[in-house]
């Protein structure tokens, strides 16, 4: 009898329309998901970081590697 389940993994949106930007080496994608900005490692699909939004729509974003 199975009684407990736990979340093992999830597949979540990494870009849901709007603005997005790619790092110069092509590794990191910064993209808006709702009011947040999500940084994704495109080589392994991992979430590298999330910038929590402030309730306003993201109209534009840019990233640059100095």
């Amino acid at each position: 009898m199975r009684t407990t389940y736990e979340v093992d993994r999830t597949i979540q949106p990494i870009y849901a329309g709007g603005s997005l930007s790619l790092s110069e080496d092509g590794r990191i994608l910064a993209a808006s998901v709702g009011e947040d900005v999500l940084l994704t490692d495109l080589t392994n699909g991992r979430e590298l970081g999330r910038i929590e939004g402030d309730g306003e729509t993201i109209t534009s974003l840019a990233c640059e590697q100095p």
């Binding site: 009898m1 199975r2 009684t3 407990t4 389940y5 736990e6 979340v7 093992d8 993994r9 999830t10 597949i11 979540q12 949106p13 990494i14 870009y15 849901a16 329309g17 997005l20 930007s21 790619l22 110069e24 080496d25 092509g26 590794r27 990191i28 994608l29 993209a31 998901v33 940084l39 490692d41 495109l42 080589t43 392994n44 699909g45 991992r46 590298l48 970081g49 910038i51 109209t59 534009s60 974003l61 840019a62 990233c63 640059e64 590697q65 100095p66």
Partner: protein, 821 residues
Amino acid sequence: MRLYAVTPSDTDDTVLDLELLRNLRPHTSPVVTLAMDRTSTLLATGGADGVVKVWDIRGGYTTHTFHSHGGVVSALHFFEVETVHREDTSESSKKRKRRKPQEELAQAETGAEDSNIEFRLASGAEDGKIRIWDLHKRKSAAVLDSHVSVVRSLDYSTTSKMLVSGSRDKTVIAWDAERWKPHRTFAALEGIEGAGFVAGGTCIYSGGENGRLRLWSVASGKEITQEQEAGIETDEIVNILHHARLPYIVSVHADQVLNFHTLPVFASPLNEETIEPLPIFRRVSGTHDEVIDMAYVGKDKSLLALNTNSEDIRIVTLHKSNAGDDTAQGRYFGADVGLLKGHEDIVICMDVDWSGHWLATGAKDNTARLWRLDPENDSYTCAAVLTGHAESLGAIALPHAAPQESSAAYTDPLSHPPPYIVTGSQDRTVKRWDVTKEMKKLRAKYTRKAHDKDINAIDIDPSGSLFASASQDRTVKIYSATEGEAVGVLRGHKRGVWTVKFASKDTQAPNSGNKGLIATGSGDKTVKIWSLADYSCLLTLEGHSNSVLKLAWLPYRPVDARDKRGPQIASAAGDGLVKVWDSVSGETMSTLDNHTDRVWALIAHPTTGALISGGGDSVITFWQDTTSATLEAATTAETERVELDQKLQNYAYAGNYREAIVLALQMDQPGRLFSLFKSVVETEKPDPGSMTGLDTVDEVLSNLADEQLYKLLLRLRDWNTNVRTAPIAQKILWAVVKSYPASRLAGLRPAGKVGAKGSLKDVLDAIRAYSERHYKRVEELVDESYLLDFTLREMDEVGDIKAITNGTSHLGLDRDAIMAE
């Protein structure tokens, strides 16, 4: 507008630290577009108000403000031009820049005469005008007025000294940067959303409305890529990502899909021959929109087919390794590996056969398709198209019975398609299609008028002799698969039935010979379990607060004949929950909560019982069965508790107070620690001169490590708040305070991370506050005892019971005195 610094985390390679550098309010209207220069020193913002501002990123102040644009600023691009020493190659100037960005900036701002590199900013606006700004002289260097609609994209090539602009007026223009005149205009005949240079400025890429990436020769103005058929609305390219170092171009489409295109090797000078469209070597789905249905693919169930409310079926990999040798390839968990293209309208239903190699889909385009999935060879092809229904297909099913293990069909499922397909349509009929060798055109074997309303689901029973159709007309009908004759009707649901699933062969309805069970889920929020022997409802499972949308039986393996536990079923519902039920008792065994919208899709792994759920929130959740682990953890915890208890008792009994106290502190067992102290303080034979009652305990208390001491103080604080436990706490506190110098106590820090919650000050404040309250209470008691004394004395004069009462009152006083100490 916010600026963040992104740095690799010190502790974890897989995480980036984000630090908010600045929070700016750059414009009175929304910032529509941003651009940074190559060195990350300058940032340009374009507002909806037509104002362009340039910012110093480190300083956080505006360096330039340009007001000339009339409408929304839609594109920005920084570039550098050589002004004085033409012989300098751009290569060396780039190097120089990298070394001294700050100095360059200083020069840029003062407009130093000897600088041969100057900063320019190009800005494009809604009205089609492009302005070139000289950041040194702080004025407009040129106005390029050729586009008649929104400028969407700007790029500059230092090698060819040209600027390219793409516009929604369906043209791309290459501008000569010396004279700022159009060098060439490309008639793209589609609104352009992205354009830029490749191959050292000799070639231009563009993409837009038609959803196709195209290459153009700057020299001849010809399109290099051969003509491509325009895509549908969701294919539209909304953005193109490319950097000079990358061997690929990423096109971003309206359905949030990113397509990676391989760039060809460009000859120098550019070969003018027409080439094939750039091959797509990788697809990344930004989001799976609404996950309507899912199916395991492959015999090892290592892939997942997704129906995402679109015309195409997506196939993603579930391999947990990151073994991708080519990092650009990115075949990680959840990565797209295949796409089934063919349907001309949204796919509504799908089903997979026992092997996971044949998938049937039904769509709004009134057709069904059978797909052959060969993950090993990356081959996903449409094997057959089923046309005949007059309206959209709402339900489809394949037989799920596995052939005998020795048969060829078992060992080579790829060359043995499922024998037949059953479809249900909005035209209220069900059709059976027999799969023949000549696959391309399948014809229906029979068509049966089935229901009065839409058919929502069809399932074929494990033996392949029956199938069931669930309808919006609140009924489920059972048919013989061979003839399509209705053999039973399940009546009882109060709303439309969304899902129907036969239980596996091993499950049997009670007292029914060997007839099985069938489960249905409905808009009336219930799940019903029915017997296939007499089509009666055995059980109604209530618990969901919205429509039950999908059911999945968990793999069922009774241990032996006496095993009375029933099969389990999982349900997904419109309330965002997945529930696991016992189909015999009807009890909810588990409620799974990880979705914020309707859960449309639910599947169970046929052997492990792991669940996958997907829904309207675009999230796909993988659930692991942790029953045995949870049980084990509970058992271990219980054993540990008993062992610890015994150990503590042994220590206390043997008078080994040091071990007992240390253990109780370490195990975070305040209850046991307290009873330990209580027994010490209330010991019958206190050691004379001991603070706590026993000299050994005094010694233990005076030799604690900082961490233990801090923990002890936390415990004392808690005990001190309670009148019942306060006397013991006071006594121990007294011993602690006497045993350590004040400096040692003051230097205590909470264990663990810096900045952990609670500080020593808070702890001591709490102890003091309650101690003061205790003193006050004791003082009141003493006052009251005087009154009692007085009363007794007065009474003594009356009677001769003096001896007894006097004794008691003094005893009371003594006790108070101890507490006050």
